[in-house]
Symmetry: C2
Subunit: 357 residues, 2 copies
Amino acid sequence: MKYSAPTIKDIARALNLSTSTVSRALRDSYEINPATKKLVLEYAARLNYQPNPIALSLRERRSLSLGVIVCEVANSFFSQVINGIESIAYEKGYQVIISQSRESSEKEWRALQYLASRSVDGLLISLSTETTDLSMIRQLHAQGLPIVFFDRVAEDIPTHKVTVDGFQASHKAVMHLITNGFRRIAILANAAFLSITKERLAGYEKALLDHGLPMRREWIRYCDHGGMYYDEVETAIRSLLQLRPRPDAIFAASDKLTTNALRVLRLLQIRIPQQMGLAGFSNSELTELLDPPLTVIKQPAFEMGRIATELLLQLIESKRPIKEFETRKLQAEVLVRASTSLLKKKEHPRGLPTTSQ
Amino acid sequence: MKYSAPTIKDIARALNLSTSTVSRALRDSYEINPATKKLVLEYAARLNYQPNPIALSLRERRSLSLGVIVCEVANSFFSQVINGIESIAYEKGYQVIISQSRESSEKEWRALQYLASRSVDGLLISLSTETTDLSMIRQLHAQGLPIVFFDRVAEDIPTHKVTVDGFQASHKAVMHLITNGFRRIAILANAAFLSITKERLAGYEKALLDHGLPMRREWIRYCDHGGMYYDEVETAIRSLLQLRPRPDAIFAASDKLTTNALRVLRLLQIRIPQQMGLAGFSNSELTELLDPPLTVIKQPAFEMGRIATELLLQLIESKRPIKEFETRKLQAEVLVRASTSLLKKKEHPRGLPTTSQ
DNA sequence: TTGTAGGCGTTATCAT
DNA sequence: ATGATAACGCCTACAA
């Protein structure tokens, strides 16, 4: 059955006024008779009248809402970014509309389709791993829809971008692995063409190079869904375990890869870190409570959301077209824990493991 | 700067046609000359014309979108529910708009405000712990906005509800604790007035009763934010530890309470399960990888999302007002792991712990 | 086969 | 101080 909220027209009819008078009264216009105003306001309150945001959007050509597209909200990194986004949006009176692509370019496409055409005033997006065809985004951007990329950016679309310095972060983490005695370090990477994959891979390679360690092609495994499916991680790790010499550590280059790598290693009863060191990107709150506590790269996700949103609002609210775009690179931190500590201890202590850095 | 998508008017002007002809051509009406139709379609394609969903909504008085309000997306239970919701919505061509209340009735209110007034066709909501004033929801419901409650329901609003049988689940979990040798079982509960809190508490009490165990008021601790803030959990647990006799197990009655309880116990260096057993609700994928692996009640979250959405669409698409409402109660499963096993073992095995039922 | 007009809810502009 | 009208983008009943 149809739901129908009260409108200005209803009020006007009931009070025997014109819609314009009602409208002005509701907006507290100075040119309305105080008595009329009072009448209207009271009646509106009784009806719990709310202006219809759809009609407003149609008229004002804006919706005071921002679209966000991420692959999954069930991912600590993204949910923290979203909290950052909402914190700014909330301050500025914008509603945030979240859509998931679930790493499918088809779903991403549908979400874009829906959010575009002015149903949102701007867009924050981290690309799905599957996305190779940027034509739709490119077109929306060309039509003037303000877009800010974060995390997984489209390098050649000229707009603001917010990323984490994946090169530095990976470099630091892999250096840590090496100085802790690991020598044959494999990397589990996201889809190959993603900007973040390239960066993180480069940081990994640089660290090996810095220490004069060999770099082997077969130590690099790509997971095209970024570890969203357990199976792709298991396959990758099983194949790494076949290698001779066998890698002695795994560096996982994104959130789900890291936790799923732990799951696989536990399932295969591989002792961490004795038989295999493990470190990787993760923003999960639980990594220090895992067995073993995981050495992770933690990205400033909340901050990233805030900055991206500030840049987006700047784009939206600017009077003139903006031609100069920034690419902000944030620094991640490495939290060192037991999963990369080769010191011989039968058991890691039962209390909360110290996290350095 | 302003973004402006092409409209029917643009096409009409360019092709020297009326807007109605263009409109009909686009909708492939039989009464349009094939030649004209072709012309219009081609031009529209070139412009990447998309009908303005706002204008459509205004006209059709529906938006093909569903609103979802949860306290937090960064909560495995809710993110799984959302995936269930989206799976159905996607099939039926509805967009899902997610908003977070972050356990604040003020934010919940704003989200409701925004989503209502016909910007969504229906609403799926799990109440924030803070919400005591239901007047706004009640009014929207009275005005005819289709609403389905899930998880945290408003008992006295007559509409469909989907919940988990918290009584059974708690009862089963606490029975498990008792048969495993725990005797002084404390409970960490969500805000006291929530329906789910009452149910879960009742299941806990029944289990104690069944075994003739004492039930003590001081073994019940409420956390008004459902464990969203670490501090409230720490305070609660510290106070439990003061008690004499001290509880020998903690049963945590919701997601964040469970993982934060683990965090607190680890910080305080309390050995689990030797010094304190721990079990609780959690839908996190990581609980079996924690140290120790956690005994949890896992709710059928995805299923819950699917069912709630089916019921909502039924409400939305029904021609006549619906007077009969269902309350679906789903069963949760208990996954038994090391955190409640008092068998003396120096160390739980390093492989993946077996999980039964 | 195509065009005109009216309406969805709102507000700005121009009367009165 | 209040009202009539037009416009935002779309669709459709009715007219031509």
